[in-house]
């Protein structure tokens, strides 16, 4: 599904210090992956490359065998992946329904209802929702694009234990029931333990 081929990355100001060093890996659909690593190990950089928010200095990233740069990174972000961030990242002047519609043309209310956000909560300003509700809206927006790959950066980082568990279950079900390829970058051992595959970045290598 999503293949990383000998990808290397360094920051322009630190050319000698490879953040990612010849990483090669193939992510499959219907599986949930957890990427672990210490701070600064390159987890978020890998996620950015997978999301097409940046380009590797060496190597390729392919979806269904095709380089993501071929059709353009905007196309890749729109059709192949969906992103969930630690800080929820919702547009503050839109309602939950409208935020979900940014992801794609779907029945936003139904999708939000699946996430447990119904009634008045779905049309009020997103800033008036709790952290857990905001993260659910963000996930609903990610699902609205109907992209086969879901990338999440510390999705439970700002949530309490109960909500974090619910979100983790949600990711698992997306992988197993909707056959999505879910890749979660996290520090959380609990979340990682729920994943089908745990990967660790160490010294720029994926192990």
């Amino acid at each position: 599904m999503l293949e990383v081929k000998n990808v290397s990355y360094y920051y322009k100001s630190q050319r000698d210090n490879l953040v990612l060093n010849e990483i090669a890996y193939r992510f499959e659909k219907a599986k949930m992956y957890a990427v672990l690593g210490t701070s600064g190990s390159g987890k978020t950089t890998l996620l950015s490359l997978l999301a097409g928010l940046d380009v590797p200095v060496k190597g390729n990233i392919c979806v269904q065998g095709e380089d993501i740069g071929k059709k353009g990174l905007c196309y890749h972000r729109k059709h192949n992946i969906s992103l969930v961030f630690q800080n929820y990242n919702l547009i503050d002047y839109l309602t939950p329904v409208e935020n979900v519609l940014l992801g794609g043309k779907v029945d936003a209310r139904a999708l939000l209802a699946q996430m447990g956000i119904e009634g008045d909560a779905s049309v009020r300003n997103v800033m008036q929702l709790s952290g857990g509700q905001q993260q659910r809206v963000a996930i609903a927006r990610a699902l609205a694009s109907q992209a086969p790959i879901l990338l999440a950066d510390e999705p439970t980082g700002n949530l309490d234990e109960r909500i974090a568990k619910e979100i983790t279950e949600l990711f698992k079900s997306l992988a197993h029931e909707q056959e999505k390829c879910v890749i979660v970058v996290t520090h959380s051992k609990d979340l990682a333990n729920e994943a089908d595959v745990i990967l660790q970045i160490k010294d720029g290598k994926l192990v």
């Binding site: 950015s48 999301a51 928010l53 940046d54 990174l73 905007c74 196309y75 890749h76 972000r77 729109k78 059709h79 969906s82 992103l83 961030f85 800080n87 990242n89 919702l90 547009i91 503050d92 002047y93 839109l94 409208e98 519609l101 940014l102 992801g103 927006r141 694009s145």
Partner: protein, 482 residues
């Protein structure tokens, strides 16, 4: 959700920001309107000496033709008598003074309007009357004393009085304007000879009565020149003092004596060599004004030597574009353009900084940077359109006020300059004074279009420049700032 839907929601739900932008664009649009409107404004000036009552045309000598003639006669005289040699030709004189300097002057025959041309014009169908007026001619008062201000410096004055000859005094422009009224006796009429009308002040000082004879001669040869007398047939009262054209009392309002047309030349010692300065022609029916004008200019005379001034009498003015207003409004436009772009640039930069999270989200869901910039442009355009519409309603008033201010400012500067130069430069005879009587500013289609394009341009440039910060950054860098 398309970018228009997002733009509308953003503007509606971020009202404070939208209102701020609206106010900035509104103020900018108002000033731009004022600038463009002033570019095409016309200023009604009123020349106090040229204004006359009734529809009329005024014939004067053309100044540039005069200079051309002087050059031509000078060249011809060089050929005739040799370069740097004294001589005269066609009323042009060249003489070397004892000091070695050259003096050049012209006589009446060179300066006068041709009577034959005036009479040809007077034949034009549709004219009901005409008048010829001589230049104010300084002569020496022989048997009376002039009005004099003892405190005034008279060293450069000719120590005389002024004679103004008229074919028909009733058509003199000071009589027509109501500056003077003859309350005793009568005015000079066509066909009169050796008659005059004096001021009340002059009459009282010299105890003059109707029928008395005043004597005059050439002020340059007071003791030797021939003396001419004119009978006093009227005494006039000044309602509005005639503005003297130079310092000294020779041209003082009370010392102006109205005479028949040929008297000034005699008293000046130039009999049969008159100096007709202006001729005025009156239109019988005001409604035929344009038709008479068309017919009049077809008169077969050498028009190159004349200016025909379009005095439309009661309609008070000759409208002309005021170049000072044009340049000041251009400056205003440039100032508003530059300052608006700068202010809006900073507003949009601040706007983008506060919207970095939104931009990152939109990039992460696959929106192109161009779409995001277009969304901001759409927001800018929507607000600008509303501000522009309100500005269009307010523009006629604000543009009028601005134009008045600019013209007033310009006139104030001119007055200050005139004050500073007072006594340093000579004032042409009978120049009159241009007075601003109104500024017409109209918000026509071209002004609206120019303002719309300008406002749009300012928005596009400021959003374009501020958007460079998005365009040059990688999506990852934008997201890292969230």
């Amino acid at each position: 959700m398309n970018l228009f839907q997002l733009s509308v929601r953003c503007l509606y739900r971020k009202r404070v920001r939208s209102i701020l932008l609206f106010l900035i664009v509104f103020v900018a649009a108002i000033f731009i309107y004022s600038g463009w409107a002033c570019q095409s404004a016309s200023v009604q000036t009123q020349n106090s000496s040229r204004q006359s009552v009734g529809a009329s045309f005024r014939l004067e000598a053309n100044a540039s033709f005069r200079h051309k003639q002087i050059d031509a006669l000078s060249t011809e005289l060089d050929k005739k008598v040799g370069e740097n040699m004294p001589g005269n030709l066609g009323g042009y004189y060249r003489e070397q003074l004892e000091s070695g300097e050259w003096m050049i002057w012209t006589d009446n025959s060179f300066e006068t309007l041709k009577r034959s041309d005036i009479e040809k014009i007077a034949q034009t169908e549709g004219l009901c009357a005409y008048n010829i007026t001589t230049a104010n001619t300084v002569v020496n008062p022989v048997n009376f004393t002039r009005i004099e201000d003892k405190d005034r410096d008279q060293t450069s004055d000719q120590q005389g009085v002024s004679l103004r000859g008229s074919r028909d005094m009733a058509y003199d422009f000071d009589v027509q304007k109501g500056n003077i009224i003859v309350k005793e006796g009568r005015m000079v009429a066509a066909g009169d000879e050796n008659v005059c009308v004096v001021s009340r002040e002059l009459a009282e000082q010299n105890k003059l009565q109707l029928g008395d004879k005043l004597e005059f001669n050439d002020w340059k040869e007071r003791d030797d020149s021939a003396v001419y007398s004119a009978k006093v047939i009227g005494i006039y009262d000044s309602i509005q003092k005639i503005t003297p054209i130079t310092e000294g009392d020779s041209y003082r309002a009370e010392n102006i004596i109205f005479t028949d047309l040929s008297f000034p030349e005699k008293a000046q010692g130039c009999e049969n060599n008159p100096l007709y300065q202006t001729a005025t022609f009156w239109v019988e029916d005001v409604d035929d004004y344009e038709a008479v004008k068309q017919a009049l200019v077809k008169t077969e005379i050498d028009w190159e030597q004349y200016d025909l001034l379009d005095n439309s009498g009661m309609s008070d003015t000759m409208a002309e574009n005021f170049s000072g207003l044009k340049s000041m409004s251009l400056m205003l436009l440039c100032l508003v353009f530059v300052s608006s772009i700068f202010i809006l640039l900073f507003v949009f930069l601040f706007w983008i900084k506060n919207r970095i999270c939104e931009i990152g989200i939109l990039l992460s869901v696959g929106r192109r940077k161009l779409d995001i910039i277009l969304q901001m442009l759409t927001e800018g355009m929507i607000v600008s359109a509303a501000a522009f519409m309100l500005a269009t309603c307010a523009a006629p008033y604000v543009a009028g006020v601005t134009a008045d201010y600019l013209v007033g400012n310009q006139m104030e500067l001119a007055r200050e300059k005139e004050e500073a130069q007072k006594g340093m430069v000579s004032i042409s005879e009978d120049s009159g004074e241009d007075e601003i009587v109104g500024v017409t500013v109209s918000i026509a289609g071209d002004v609206i279009a120019a303002t719309a394009v300008s406002v749009m341009g300012i928005i596009v440039v400021s959003i374009g420049l501020s958007s460079l910060s998005i365009a040059i950054q990688k999506p990852k860098n934008i997201l890292s700032k969230m």
